[in-house]
Amino acid sequence: MSDGRVASGASPKGPSLVSSEVLIRPESEPMLVAKGLTKRFGRVTALEDANLELYPGEVLAVIGDNGAGKSSLIKCLSGAMVPDAGTIELDGQVVNFKRPNDARVAGIESVYQTLAVAPALDIATNLFLGREKRMKGPLGSVFRILDKSGMRREARRALDELGIGTLQDITQPVESLSGGQRQAVAVARAGAFGSKVIILDEPTAALGVKESGLVLNMIRDLRSKGMPVILISHNMPHVFEVADRIHIQRLGRRVAVVDPKQTTMSDAVAIMTGAKTVEQ
């Protein structure tokens, strides 16, 4: 195969990929590394010695059948689950996340499938929910008054940067937005706080064709700004459209990392389901 064509939006700024090995690696150092993650629930093994590497500025897709350990892997990285064994390193430092806020403070932002937005609150409030900005001086420090106009300004800028500045009113409640727009708000929130990694869990699962395209564009925008993204998705066309590398999870461990430009979708699915095996 390999006719050299690049998926429509794949940015040339992404890390250069060496040829089609089973475990392809960009030439730089990984910024997020998970080694030997294991998680058991009674007799059920969710993760068995699972590894993951994320390189700067890349979109890493994580695919796998149901029960392959995708969500357990992601939950370990985002602090929602504590692994029984294994280590996670961020920028070369070992990190121990006990709760989602630990990961967030360390710079790993997750956009959950449920989006975790408060629908009745407006866009700006949602962007800053849980880390509101207070006014400068005694008004903020003594009277705890919020810097509403400053937050609105920054919210507007964050949305503009993601190419969704078409939202006219930053003070409209999130529930009056479409599914794609809500996703955009959630992604903007994840990207707005100097984060190092953004994890997107099935961001297009609930969206129509047009809105999925919008979200995929947003993922490309994040990459073009140098923000590494982990994308969990069931949607193979979407994965092949935006991913730089595809991490394939099967039976609790990583079985391969493939280059979407060198691999067909049917091969990826075959590896994922075990119809085709690869030697590591």
């Binding site: 967030r104 629908p119 609150l121 929910l129 849980g130 509101e132 705890r144 009056s176 979407p260 979708m265």
Partner: protein, 361 residues
């Protein structure tokens, strides 16, 4: 061989402006505006009530007496004082309902606190300000008890406060031995909310009493706090979607505990207003305020499902309750039909809220 790009060509270039377009019919437009500004409907109801009662009352009064006219300044002033207690409690109730709870014990909490304040001064000779502080602390403690049960035992607020409604009422009755403490035994601060008029509204003869001022200041402060502090935003977020709030990094349990404690403190302020209004303390005073405070919140446009509503809506809701109650009495309408009318308002308000919440669903 199929490449990724040819598979996804048709979805790779979405027209953003197209995806964000909104078009609405007249009904949907109305729904949209009510959704943005839920206070619109209570304001309209209040305005209509004023016009109807004011107009008909001025026509029908005459041969018998016009001294009790609905529109007379004295009547309005007295009524504001009478409903100030309920309006004060409704501020605390709004906070609780915003977190998708409800506090059925407002009335008995307030009664218990006002008995404690009164008896400390009358029986123990404690100075007024100290009694007020003790009352405030008791209010906080009652709220903390609710907050503890809601967050640690995870019981529904409806059931918790139904239980404490009985408990607090029983404690109040036992503590006061069902005797009324007379106002003449409570000098000083305690009756300040009722014993003088603060001022008259300019160009009218409407006298405003300190209890009313206390209630209105409380509304202003709480409206500001809810709109302009992180705590206020967290109260809304917690009531709107607890799990989302938690994932956003909000300590939901701390928010809930603080809401019940602040509500308890507000009930203590309500107890102070009640002392001034009635000039005495009794375990069977102010029986109506319990349900009326919930009514004011609901009619004022705060959603019983939590996360949406405005403090100022509650003020308007309280005014609607007062105007309906007084207006219909001046019409000599039977008490039962007044209750019927208020009940109808509650159902209408909740139905409207359900409809408004469907925006974007």
């Amino acid at each position: 061989m199929t490449t990724a790009s040819s598979l996804t060509d048709d979805i790779s270039a979405p027209d953003a402006s197209d995806a964000f377009e909104h078009k609405r019919g007249p009904v949907a437009t109305m729904q949209h505006w009510l959704h943005r500004f839920p206070v619109i409907s209570p304001v309209i109801v209040l305005g209509l009530a004023f016009i109807v009662f004011g107009f008909f009352n001025s026509k029908t009064c005459g041969p018998i007496s016009c001294g009790q006219s609905f529109r007379s300044g004295q009547t309005i002033g007295t009524n504001m004082q009478a409903y100030a207690v309920m309006a004060t409690l409704a501020v605390g109730q709004t906070l609780v309902i915003l977190t998708s709870g409800v506090d059925l014990s407002v009335g008995s909490s307030m009664i218990l606190v006002h008995l404690i304040m009164a008896k400390l001064v009358a029986d123990q000779g404690v100075p007024g300000p100290i009694a007020l502080i003790v009352g405030a602390l008791v209010g906080l403690a009652l709220g903390a008890f609710h907050g503890f049960l809601v967050t640690k035992i995870s019981l529904p607020p409806f059931i918790i406060t139904l239980g404490t409604f009985y408990m607090f009422a029983a404690v109040g009755l036992v503590y006061s031995k069902a005797q009324t403490t007379s106002g003449s035994d409570m000098p000083g601060m305690l009756l300040w909310t009722g014993d003088k008029y603060a001022f008259k509204i300019p160009f009218t003869k409407i006298p405003i009493n300190y209890g009313v001022v206390v209630a209105l200041v409380l509304y202003a402060v709480m409206a500001f706090v809810l709109a302009n502090t992180a705590w206020g935003k967290h109260v809304y977020a917690t009531g709107n979607d607890k799990e989302a709030a938690r994932l956003a990094g909000i300590n939901v349990n701390r928010v809930l505990l603080s809401v019940y404690m602040v509500a308890g403190l507000i009930y203590a302020i309500g107890a102070w207003v009640q002392l001034g209004r009635s000039g005495s303390a009794s375990s069977n005073a102010a029986a109506d305020v319990n349900l009326e405070s919930i009514t004011a919140v609901v009619i004022g446009g705060t959603s019983v499902f939590g996360g949406r509503g405005r403090i100022m809506g509650t003020l308007i809701g309280a005014a609607i309750v007062a105007v309906f109650d007084k207006g219909l009495s001046l019409f000599k309408v039977d008490q039962q039909w007044k209750n019927f009318a208020i009940g109808g308002l509650i159902l209408t308000a909740v139905a409207l809220d359900q409809w408004i919440r469907k925006v974007g669903k």
